[in-house]
């Protein structure tokens, strides 16, 4: 399971360096993501740009991970390939997860504590 993490301010960025999130790795993925998310960053942003296939098991693992990450913290997704985006759209999970077109857009939308505007 290849997950690469990086902290950008209050955002824990997790790159999923796997081409597939499927039934073969769903359980490992859930556990690895829970670990990669850490315990403190209020936002966990999942970079899915390298994932070209997601099945219902993979989707279930993402939902489970979102629950495990806990209340008061957010799991957000970014840079979905078309085939992956479609699974979210068909299951209406796109209304449950916050989905950003790109990492840059997601980080630009980071809420600021300075509350300047």
């Amino acid at each position: 399971m290849q997950l690469k993490t990086e902290d950008r301010g209050d955002v824990r960025l997790v790159l999923v360096a796997e081409p597939r999130i499927d039934a073969a790795i769903a359980i490992q993925f859930k556990e690895a993501l829970r670990t990669a998310a850490g315990e403190s960053a209020p936002r966990v942003l999942l970079d899915l740009s390298e994932v070209r296939f997601l099945d219902s098991s993979g989707l279930g693992a993402l939902v489970a991970a979102m629950k495990l990450i806990g209340t008061g913290r957010r799991l957000e997704l970014a840079a979905l390939q078309a085939s992956v985006e479609r699974v979210f759209r068909l299951t209406r999970m796109d209304t449950v997860f916050t989905i950003h077109a790109s990492i840059a857009e997601a980080l630009g939308a980071s809420p600021r504590l300075t509350d300047a505007g």
Partner: protein, 169 residues
């Protein structure tokens, strides 16, 4: 690519053998009922379909539908028993990819196809389902679903529509 007349048989001259047939013929394979074998089969099928001129969107649809039905057999018909075997045939026809799965695992509960639950409508994270979207996706994307239990085998037939194919008729 040869024109196809929508014959119900997926057989083509030269498409013999138990494994993957030539590009324009039916794809046939037998795989162990195990998630990694399903993954390998899907990658291979996708490559074959793209090689046969199926569009990327349609190949992605086929990959997703077949993933869901194959994983269902692995998880429920064989319940993790990797000695199980699944036979899969995918025949390109004018009306789409005619797919048939055959396995000798446990029968479908109630002898009928599950409906799958609908899309998520709750926004309470803790109330979200973590599974059960498989059949919903299958019903959303596939056509002409049919299930039968014959001589101790499960037979599931379905068709994956081809949307973006300008095929000679």
């Amino acid at each position: 690519m040869a024109a196809r007349r929508g014959a119900s048989s997926g057989h083509r001259p030269g498409a013999d053998g138990r494994n993957v047939g030539p590009v324009a013929g039916a794809i046939r394979l037998t795989l162990p009922a195990e998630p990694k074998a399903v993954r390998r089969a899907l990658v291979r099928i996708c490559t074959e379909l793209l090689g046969a001129g199926i569009s990327e969107d349609d190949a992605a649809t086929a990959e997703l539908v077949l993933a869901e039905v194959l994983n269902n057999v692995v998880e429920h018909a064989f319940q993790g028993n990797a000695d199980g075997r699944i036979e899969l045939t995918i025949a390109p026809e004018e009306a789409g990819l005619a797919c048939e799965l055959r396995d000798n695992g446990r029968p479908m509960p109630g002898g009928a196809l599950p409906a799958g639950h609908g899309p998520a409508c709750s926004t309470a994270v803790s109330a979200l389902p973590e599974g059960g979207f498989g059949w919903f996706l299958i019903h959303s994307l596939a056509r002409d679903l049919a299930y039968a239990r014959i001589d101790g085998a499960n037979i599931l037939a379905l068709r994956i529509p081809l949307s973006a194919r300008a095929q000679a008729s």
